[in-house]
Symmetry: C2
Subunit: 532 residues, 2 copies
Amino acid sequence: MSLQALRKEYIPNIPCEISDINITVQESSLVKVDKKIENIFEKTSKSPLLSFISGKGKKANFLKVGVLFSGGPAPGGHNVIAGVFDSLKKIDNRSQLYGFLNGPDGILKNKYIVITKELIDNYRNCGGFDLIGSSRTKIETEEQFKQALNNVKSLDLDGLIIIGGDDSNTNALYLAEFFLKENFKTKVVGVPKTIDGDLKNEYILISFGFDTACKVYSEMIGNLARDAMSSKKYYHFIKLMGRSASHIALECALKTQPNFVLIGEEIFKGKKGLDQIVKDIAEMVIKRAKQNKNYGIILIPEGIIEFIYEIKMLIGELNKILSSYEKKFKSFEDKEKIDFVLSKLSNSSKKSFLYLPKDIQKQLLLKRDPHGNVQVSQIETEKLLIDKVKEELKNKKDIKFNPIAHFFGYEGRASFPSNFDANYCYALGFVASSILKEGYTGYICAISNLNKSVNEWRGKAIPLASMMNMEIRKGKEKAVIKKALVDLKGKPFEMFVSLRDKWIIEDNYKYPGPIQFFGDKKLTDSCPIIIK
Amino acid sequence: MSLQALRKEYIPNIPCEISDINITVQESSLVKVDKKIENIFEKTSKSPLLSFISGKGKKANFLKVGVLFSGGPAPGGHNVIAGVFDSLKKIDNRSQLYGFLNGPDGILKNKYIVITKELIDNYRNCGGFDLIGSSRTKIETEEQFKQALNNVKSLDLDGLIIIGGDDSNTNALYLAEFFLKENFKTKVVGVPKTIDGDLKNEYILISFGFDTACKVYSEMIGNLARDAMSSKKYYHFIKLMGRSASHIALECALKTQPNFVLIGEEIFKGKKGLDQIVKDIAEMVIKRAKQNKNYGIILIPEGIIEFIYEIKMLIGELNKILSSYEKKFKSFEDKEKIDFVLSKLSNSSKKSFLYLPKDIQKQLLLKRDPHGNVQVSQIETEKLLIDKVKEELKNKKDIKFNPIAHFFGYEGRASFPSNFDANYCYALGFVASSILKEGYTGYICAISNLNKSVNEWRGKAIPLASMMNMEIRKGKEKAVIKKALVDLKGKPFEMFVSLRDKWIIEDNYKYPGPIQFFGDKKLTDSCPIIIK
């Protein structure tokens, strides 16, 4: 008997106000957007917030809908598709769902499969994006937009659902606007996916996948904490995935109560340098050693490096150099790359660059991701910190310091979704269909009251234009969804601040253990702490 | 509601033939031991195998017993103590259980706590060894034996239970023999603990902790496999803890069906060189690339490095050099260390040493563990293989090869024990008490029929002397328990061999998911595949 088999039988729990196909829509007042945004999204920027309530909505005929994943996997993705599939079939059994293969590539190359009941039944409540695959391809050029249009035309799609993060939902709005301008019927709807938790606002409490990923990481952190308490001789430096923002580290910290946690946003606000961070950690090690505690747990968000003031400056300069001299740079050997950037860096950034160990220098010059960002997960910050703390403690011969480096990331992206994510994603699938049925475009799906019992969950739709901001990307100003960072005035961070001083000396570790799918609902259906 | 709280309520499932305190013992014929072993263990080498069955055993008065953990944590340790505690109290409520603190150190320094119901209730079915801690201290010198004797005398102990791996159980027998020779009453009993699974024989099907650790690692491997299937662009090189033997890798392979698995014992038998291993992996990468599969899962036992013929020779020479020049060596800087060993190595080992990347060279010269072994978990074999495979594929520009290195080890040592380990450990605790109650010494506890339903489990006791072998340790011949390696003629390995060719090209991944404690017993109570 395998969990894989049993899990497929789970029936996600969503309220009838979302599962009912006779749902109707309520428009609230228009969301005000910036003039610049309005100019870019002429057709889609004057959209109201939508709420779905029981009642008689539009009578839809059968719908033809395409769906695709964009970006890294997040637990629950298959349940979004299951929710869309079930709701479309409920609306009209003749409805068709197409799954574009390998992410945005699929819609550019018109590669797709028809989603059938047999197919989706095999993926219900399972992790990964493997039913149709994913990629990080961006739809950016005029030619790409036209290709996409041709292909939705050829399938005669009423709707296109893009399951992705901030950049992918930005893309969704550009597509929605383009289809409208070209007078074609396909409506575009986004679904907030990302384990990083950085796609949120007052309506989107959290993106899907965050809950599960944090639970998987916290299981491992708890296990390491119990190991530390048992063998009493290791400092575990644990880097956690999450891109720039420190949401994952914060959630895992509240779940496991480690000895020390770095929060990128706080470091940036305090303009804390690498030096000071290293000193803080070394100070904790010394304090604990005095109590005969030569072990501990330290959490490091992978994005931290971008928040250390002098490193942020350095990365900014490096990004510019790398995009200006992209071709030239590719032809260089490692040594030449370093000499080249040293000749271009400002004096202060040169100093910061030279302060870093050789390995980290190399890692900072690695290829950017398709959005031009440093690939933070490839920078071994955990080892950088270990090296520097070792150096700091060099003269304290009596201090035992045995550090071990860990990185948890890929382990949490494709795991079985928690009941929370399984339910949430299934509900998002229903909301996506409802938006399409009612004929709206340029929206992202949301569920309100996620921190309350499922009975109180309600479907919402947020105009993507209302989430846009002007930012510099690859040297040019562009309308994009702003990444939500940890709010230093928010309740979760405050809760953490009120507790963390104790954690430094006392061992208040919590051991969450593996995600449970059966048994007491209070255990199996909990939501993330940071949205409670 | 936390799992931590709920888990304490679990009542381990053991048959009445083990939980009954009116159990009696059946002796079977003496186990034949080698002459050399007989000479070392005059008093304890002529012991019969013991089986426990329902019936009227010796009427014991209250017992005073000490217990200690030795070596790295393994899931279930606290349940051994719970089993000992509950059975002692059942025998006579006035019985006392002392927990020696921080492993063998506790018995040398006479540091202990009295185990009470309140105390143990807080640790039932929980991971880690933190109730009393552990260490890797060996009791070796005459002085240490005398200290131990003094301290068991001062507590007037009837029994001492040592929960540990092969080396710790070796120690248990030396102590048993010493106490007998000194005519003191304390009986010594060992309990087979180690996640590595290398402490086993025809009576001990598996050591405790192995099941849980493999389930934790397999959860993560499955998650990575699903991630690989979803994003289709990474090769995950996963190193797994397990010391020399490849049991953990084999069990995890059968649970998750990765693309490629190294088995140390097979590599050694085939005298396979590092070169050939690298070529095999590269060949798989090329084969898969032809099918447009630029992703995969590769399992690497941490002990592999000792099984690669030329590296084994090299490590053997290094071990000798390091123990002969221990003091001198400590005073050297890294560079001097390398020059020094190069001047001492044979020509062929010098060649092997120089073939390795600088980082690995340094790692091979790190401090040995207290038993004089290379600390294999500190050697980054996964990165060594990645480097070499990259080199091998250098001229194949069309092959996409994005490797990511992982190491799973500490995450599995202190996690919540699976139901199998929780039950098994609790049963072991009862058997340990039964052996003491019946007055035997120099034994290790075992449970037969572990691969059958709990109702069929029975208590056994194996004379430790029957497990002894003469081996060279730190340059001297010594009687020790031989580590059990993967049997290349055994069923588990054969099963693996019959399946693995398919795994190379096809993606037959299984996703075991997180350990479940509630729900269908077929899911929650499964035993390791390799003992099925």
